[in-house]
Symmetry: C2
Subunit: 623 residues, 2 copies
Amino acid sequence: MSPKITTELLKQLRQVMKSPKYVQEPVQAYIVPSGDAHQSEYIAPCDCRRAFISGFDGSAGTAIVTEQHAAMWTDGRYFLQAAHQMDNNWTLMKMGLKDTPTQEDWLVSILPEGSKVGVDPFIIPADQWKRMSKALRSAGHDLVPVKENLIDTIWTDCPQRPCKPLITLDLSYTGVSWRDKIVALRSKMAERRVLWFVVTALDEVAWLFNLRGSDVEYNPVFFAYAVIGMNTIRLFIDGDRMMDPAVREHLQLDSTLEPEFKIQVMPYGSILSELQAVGAGLSPKEKVWLSDKASYALTEAIPKAYRYLTPYTPICIAKAVKNTSETEGMRRAHIKDAVALCELFNWLEKEVPKGTVTEIIAADKAEEFRSQQKDFVELSFATISSTGPNGAIIHYKPVPETNRTLSVNEIYLLDSGAQYKDGTTDVTRTMHFGTPSAYEKECFTYVLKGHIAVSAAIFPNGTKGHLLDSFARSALWDCGLDYLHGTGHGVGSFLNVHEGPCGISYKTFADEPLEAGMIVSDEPGYYEDGSFGIRIENVVLVIPAETKYNFKNRGSLTFEPLTLVPIQTKMIDVNLLTQKECNWVDDYHQKCREVIGAELERQGRHEALQWLIRETEPLVRVQ
Amino acid sequence: MSPKITTELLKQLRQVMKSPKYVQEPVQAYIVPSGDAHQSEYIAPCDCRRAFISGFDGSAGTAIVTEQHAAMWTDGRYFLQAAHQMDNNWTLMKMGLKDTPTQEDWLVSILPEGSKVGVDPFIIPADQWKRMSKALRSAGHDLVPVKENLIDTIWTDCPQRPCKPLITLDLSYTGVSWRDKIVALRSKMAERRVLWFVVTALDEVAWLFNLRGSDVEYNPVFFAYAVIGMNTIRLFIDGDRMMDPAVREHLQLDSTLEPEFKIQVMPYGSILSELQAVGAGLSPKEKVWLSDKASYALTEAIPKAYRYLTPYTPICIAKAVKNTSETEGMRRAHIKDAVALCELFNWLEKEVPKGTVTEIIAADKAEEFRSQQKDFVELSFATISSTGPNGAIIHYKPVPETNRTLSVNEIYLLDSGAQYKDGTTDVTRTMHFGTPSAYEKECFTYVLKGHIAVSAAIFPNGTKGHLLDSFARSALWDCGLDYLHGTGHGVGSFLNVHEGPCGISYKTFADEPLEAGMIVSDEPGYYEDGSFGIRIENVVLVIPAETKYNFKNRGSLTFEPLTLVPIQTKMIDVNLLTQKECNWVDDYHQKCREVIGAELERQGRHEALQWLIRETEPLVRVQ
């Protein structure tokens, strides 16, 4: 990796920062955040502005350019990568280290008195604007919105914003029609006495209208906004995709409908002016509901007194609770996904000893097997295929420079998943194709104990996921081991592989309580820097539990694994497991054998079936 | 309990709410919060203004009086008590129920347009003022500070503010002189670049100066404020207690000292004007550090630009980490406390079958035995002595109307503690003096498993206590049982029995990480309404742990019980315990026998020693 040469680009940017063509007054600093106008985790190439200006293309990072300086804030996952990708015009600001200043403090320390700091108001979330604006103002500076994105003005070969065809999902996949979703949303709006709801997150638009797209890699979403009134529906979307007869039919664009279900299609770019018109027409006590993470531009379109902001939108919360059609779809997707992984692991077992399988080859092979499955759409994230020391890099993605050959001497960690039309998968298995050391088995077994502790946990209705995080760590902690990431995230239903508002992590407190129908991952791990990585991840469904006393009728919950892929017993030190934990593993493997075995049989994949049967033998305690 | 008749009082209050003598403009509503000017949990009789105006004397509740209405907000612990104690002038607002409006919403719904809502600015914490003021303003009303407390103007027989003599604590108790504490505080101030620190919490003033008082029952504190500058120390305190030669000597008031350690003693009531003078004299970038829970009056004395507010003060954090002298003192206090409880339980075992021991008699007897111990000062909270169904009332305190006789047929729960000059105790034991039922034993054993899970937990340095809360619940959850309170609170060293900034609770997220030297309680429970209550509470010290892999040198922590009182083995269903849990109980009892046994021997308490030996026999597994 050689760094991107940015001298000329920075010169150009500094020019437009002073150009009356783009800014009312010169700005002394310009902030380039990571995200897009929808605060997406994954973004399209046209939105990779920070990568364009700096060369650093990690998933998180904020660039700030002033007349004299160019600085990049990123976190520990990316210190090395950012240092490699950026030339010496740039100062790396290592977040989380004690001496690293915040963006605000740094700006205050270097700016001349009374400076203007510019930012694209469509890219910065309202809550972040508020914090930064306050800090700058109290030091005598001003945060100002710069309407035209200054990076776009110098990015001559900027890719087009994608505008790919849409997929319509019928009731057999979604369980609820978009009309019924609108009705439910309006009833939530009535409850909170708001007249308008603005849908800004891409997965929320897709979920609401039972549509999917492919504008962003790995995430089946499309660029759009929606504004839902009590009697109107406005969808802001570009391109001729609304000409597709299937989409027109699905949205009933040409039918005679009750007016309150008539969708008005408007250009993507007109959202701001339309929202401003809504804002201007409000009477006292009429409110507009937005996520508090919506962009500053859209939030400002509504006068402050009329805004109703919440951290989680009613769509985010409704989307998280899967209905029967969705959970059945997720089950089917996970069965197909397990078939592909049985094929892969069977193939690896034969090929790895030959010394010809690299991390990239293994990842490609996994994709090949998945793509053979019905309704496969694409992967759900970049496959983490890592062997030996690469396994300790939690967000590793093999590239030619780091690509390592799998061997019988190293642990192999595969964290991968796919989008199927009926569901989204995300699974991690850690395998050894030779003989693991006692220490590797010991660590693996602690991680497994943590995985089981969460998966088998029983807890009262109303419990938030973060309260379960320590269960995943207890066995590791007893021996002085830990892992520095959360234990689980929400998973969409043929949608984003990471979604809110629930999860299992020590890092959050504002998660919504778990309820039956929610789907999260359970993925504790252990990482030995320079040596190996271990993670065991299932996607699990929250289901009602049966308990002896049932929490005074409050009801109780537990998890059911949707992922049904064997956990390598060779890696388990059985004597470290309790009888209950042994039973959990044996029951889990029995279920894998039954459910996935039947599907392998049906698909005529006999060799993989034999592998599955071998890998799901009951544990044997060696005393 | 008959309700207090408040018709005349409310009439008087409504008059002064309009009287130009007390208010610049009439106020349409007046708020009477629960606390005192120091945001204390326990308050002196002169501060029980809400109890005076309403009759309701629970520990939490806010009264609001308007021209037409009088309403009281309190939580589930007090619904019954408040209903009994208040006459029908009052509307009870049951917090936590879905249909109960917040104070702000209720005010907005009933006030005429453009109303003024008054409150004593010394009693309302700044963060609460901010929230309420914002809500009222956005509805067109104003929250206004009323300097003279309106309750005090009509409270003709209001008790005097206590002004009792002080106790000086020498180095053998405190480990650090007040001068060194000032030096450490100033270094924290320099780190944050603040010039002044305002000490508003009573226990923080007491800790800083190594003084104790008895102005508030159960809490060895005294009414005072302090303002610490980089070169000045101002102590705001009333009465002739500063004339006491021991206090003068301790504070070196008559010595020739370096000026930066010279304490200026000022009247308690002059804090506001002195602070206003400090505020008026500040230059740009000079800051004043306050708790964000300090009163609105004191916070407002410092112009906004000069305030530095934090949820935990540096004193709060320093106070929580006990030094060797303090932990040794706490150990001594807990040994004495255990001696008293061995005597008590031995006495109860003989007396209860006679049917003559009531909850009040048992509580008095506990106090009697404690008062025989060296350096006993007072109880650390009102003894919870409860049998049978009373045990299910978590904050129960026996009064003649509810006083129940202990019997061999009911579970007895005793939650009690004391202030000794060398430390503060807080211990709960649940005993049966006859034969417990299988169900009672089952519940007790789950609670015990939770208690052990926390007490024996190993966790990495930097872990916050709230991450351990679920460990205490896991065994209960497995069977569909739970308890609706936190698992532990910080404990002061001859100071308040409840103190921040650490604890073990699902309810908080902003607690400070646990570190070696901190002291917390470990007190899971289970409550069967109308039937019994179970709680097992030890005070535990955070200590370094030994682990196999030591968290990559991050270090690890665990707990050591300071409380050494037998846990009744008769209540344990041994077959529900793992071998590890059995060993924990046996080791704990062995330690009780050795440490407390030696002290009982030394004090010649032979009968109690025999009881201790009987109660600390190893567990026997009946297969």
